[in-house]
């Protein structure tokens, strides 16, 4: 499982970081950094919560 971030949509609101600080970290220039490349099943719920929390719908979970 991987997380795809649409950086054109991401606006640095950082709600993903609030949901899953081990997966996402917004930088001070407003860009978002993914802290983990591939996720295990145990992080699925956190990743889904982060995706649902994004006001810009910039986060998608892809199975791969």
């Amino acid at each position: 499982m991987r997380v795809n971030v649409d950086y054109a949509k991401c606006s640095g609101v950082a709600l993903c970081e609030a949901e899953a600080p081990d997966l996402f970290e917004v930088q001070d220039d407003g860009t978002m950094k993914q802290l983990v490349e591939r996720l295990g099943e145990d992080r699925r719920e956190a990743a889904e919560a982060a995706a649902a929390s994004c006001p810009y719908q910039a986060i998608k979970i892809v199975e791969a």
Partner: protein, 409 residues
């Protein structure tokens, strides 16, 4: 995560962000019976924050729909009742009146939000608006397209965003604010003063301590705004950003407890309204936030609508209610600069940690020995770290140490 649902029809009143999240959460937690989503506006649920931000930019403006109709009806299996507001709630028969129809509910989430306060004495005058709904935003946008001289009444966040949007188009903009320092209630006077400087830098005229006494019109179109010191501000577009009133008029005879001051719905820590099976979420709801000693809060924030919509639905369909406690969070964008706030602004002390010559800002709010709030300007990498500290009840000293050690790059 699935538990047996006891209700057989969930009615969600308010086709808003909170209402949508309530519906999605009910499905996620295994609610398989009918869900009816009632909305006063004809529109499908849409997102409000962009309406006073990107939606006002020149060029094409995409309507920020939250979901497609197909997604709502087929994937979520919702029955949509849009275009007619709920007009009454009868807790005895467990029915809600929508137009001519009485809809029975076993569980309900009220997410009717709030209505923008209109400028007194300006009803029906063209060019005078509030900005709350999609229709409002379309009207404001087309006035900006026509190059309107713009007067914004109220230097709060919505008013400031609109002023920023108009100014970035090169239009003449004046903000009229009754308080001496803008935003002092929402961020404190010191930070309010600092934020006000962003307007001045962009040549947006900000008149504080000014009271609007009326407007003038010609042929039904606004011409100017009159102030108490005799000033007349020419205007083609006037937008009032002077607060909202919770939409609870339809509950007047329901027996629901309403807040004395603003008429919002009084809920317990689980968002229960006190009426059997009826919970509330979003701008309409007051609830005691355990993270701040049970302080009664009504928040008009996007993130709160999401959290409360989900919590209210889970509690409405679940066997027993779980308390919601959260650190409030909102963001705003002025002239391309990102303002973010977490926590609560009523504080014993505000400490501004900034660097000379930079407009980036970090302000911390203290109550007793505890960090309770943080505001940043263009420091989006910091804000959630402080939100976490507040939720962990971090000490003021700890927060100050962290702020001073996190040097700006």
């Amino acid at each position: 995560m699935t538990h047996r649902a006891r209700a057989n029809r969930l009615v969600i009143v308010g086709a808003s962000l909170a209402g949508l999240r309530a519906a999605e959460t009910a499905r996620k937690y295994g609610f398989q019976d009918e869900i009816v989503l009632v909305g006063a506006e004809e529109h499908l649920p849409y997102d409000r924050p962009p309406l006073s931000k990107a939606f006002l930019d020149p060029g094409d403006a995409a309507v920020p729909w939250l979901r497609t109709e197909r997604h709502l009806t087929e994937q979520l299996g919702l029955v949509l009742k849009l275009g007619v507001p709920a007009s009454a709630l009868d807790p005895q028969s467990q029915t809600v009146t929508v137009g001519e129809e009485a809809i029975h509910y076993s569980a309900m989430v009220i997410a009717t939000g709030a209505a923008a306060r209109a400028l007194p004495g300006a009803a029906g005058v063209r060019g005078v608006h509030t900005l709350r709904t999609l229709d409002d935003a379309r009207a404001v946008r087309s006035a900006l397209d026509a190059g309107a001289r713009t007067v914004v009444i109220g230097a709060g966040f919505i008013g400031s965003e609109i002023a920023s949007g108009a100014r970035m188009r090169g239009l003449d903009v004046t903000i009229v604010e009754a308080l001496d320092v803008p935003l002092s209630r929402s961020v404190g006077p010191e930070v309010g003063y600092t934020l006000a400087a962003l307007h001045k830098r962009e040549d947006t005229e900000l008149r504080c301590g000014a009271v609007v006494t009326g407007i003038t019109e010609a042929g039904g179109q606004v011409r100017s705004v009159m102030l108490d010191d005799g000033t007349e501000l020419p205007a083609d577009l006037v937008i009032a950003g002077i607060g909202v009133t919770p939409s609870t008029g339809w509950l007047a005879k329901s027996g629901a407890a309403l807040h004395q001051r603003d008429g919002g719905l009084l809920c317990d820590e689980t968002l229960w309204t006190g009426l059997p099976g009826v919970y509330a979420a979003g701008d309409v709801a007051h609830w005691p936030n355990a993270l701040f000693d049970g302080e009664l809060m009504r928040l008009e924030h996007w993130a709160t609508a999401v959290e409360q919509g989900a919590a209210a639905a889970r509690n409405a369909i679940g066997p027993r209610g779980a308390a919601l406690s959260t650190v409030p969070y909102f963001w705003s964008v002025w002239y391309g600069q990102r303002i973010q706030f977490v926590g609560v602004p009523q504080a014993d002390e505000v400490s501004v940690v900034s660097e000379p010559g930079s407009e980036r800002l970090l302000a911390l709010y203290r109550r007793g020995a505890r960090l309770v709030g943080c505001l940043t300007v263009d420091r989006p990498g910091q804000i959630m770290k402080y939100r976490r500290m507040i939720s962990e009840r971090a000490s003021w000293d700890h927060a100050l140490r962290f702020a001073r050690s996190a040097r700006l790059p």
